[in-house]
Assembly symmetry: C2
Homo-oligomer: 227 residues x 2
Amino acid sequence: MASNMVLYWGSGSVPCWRPMLVLEEKKLQGYGSKLISFSKKEHKTEEVLKLNPRGQVPTFKDGDVVVNESAAICDYLEYKFADQGTSLLPKDAAQRGMVLQRMHEAQNLNKGLIENVVHYIFRTKPEDVNQEHLNEKKKEAREELKRWEEYMQKQGSGTYVVGKEFSMADVFVFPLLAFAVRGKLNLDPFPGLKEYYQRLEKRPSVKATWPPHWSEEPAGKDFFTGV
Amino acid sequence: MASNMVLYWGSGSVPCWRPMLVLEEKKLQGYGSKLISFSKKEHKTEEVLKLNPRGQVPTFKDGDVVVNESAAICDYLEYKFADQGTSLLPKDAAQRGMVLQRMHEAQNLNKGLIENVVHYIFRTKPEDVNQEHLNEKKKEAREELKRWEEYMQKQGSGTYVVGKEFSMADVFVFPLLAFAVRGKLNLDPFPGLKEYYQRLEKRPSVKATWPPHWSEEPAGKDFFTGV
């Protein structure tokens, strides 16, 4: 069935990494994997635009079904392959509610780290960076990370974002954390997240989907020093 | 079962309206409905903060299960009450993929209308408004609306966001459209959306959850003239 699937993705893109993790966890290896180059603007080619008029990745196709929003792809795959590979949304409604909560709450972590800090640095000429504004945004990112650290602390070591099983919440949280670590986030003030990160980076689905250009250049641009 | 549920919500809040629509559609009337006042900062009371440390609404509780992110509440309710009331996520995987896509794609409409235009106007002193910037953002909002107009046009009149049935995609799109119409968006250039809007505003779940202060003051602040 995976042979009917095509995923267009970019290396290091957090939204692309989510469905890639789901495809691995659901044992759907063998899907058509199309790595696009952002610098060559390959997400704006006719081939991608035909499937995704927004010209963004991820762009995903399963037979005739086209699903492009990362959360939609993840939910679609979990539903269609509910009993295959890792169960990413618990069948028990209460447990599922908790996983859904953290999965969607991760948008706050995305906002704190990516939208408010990374996008600001990317979109501002170095000479125009307002250090006071950036420091404020870094402080907000720290507060957000503290919140997730508390979640980890409350659960105790050896756990995932929600309880003792890897779930859709990890699919949404881990890539953000990995992006931040590569961007020089120091996890020492967040020991729960640090233990989680070091454990998860060894997980087979994570290793299989690790952004290839990160393997070549493990240290990224400095976004998060001082967070 | 609805008697175990409590929803804290604010009048006119798009994220609050989504779970309210789901509660109506799933025939869960009778839940504890707690209208909070934003101006009195009732979303920052101890009662809310105990359930939602972010101090935001919606805040939702079903027995011991606390779920606060709007998409998480909606998915939780649809899962727990799959066979009750309106089916909001189709059982057919291909159809479901399409609904999930539009449900999550609605974040672009949210960004175009609310984040880029409403938040900018709210957070900028009238004398500091950069008209050129605002016009650019209004133009982007128009482009986004055109995309959704095309979706409606392709399906023909009398349809919902995805096909012939009301779904989770409508739960995410309609409140944004209603917010925009109250903020003086002229729907005449978008006849498909206009027909859809006028039909949906008469839907029982929509009427039952219409923001109370909108009924008292049908005309809101002008955000969208010129879009």
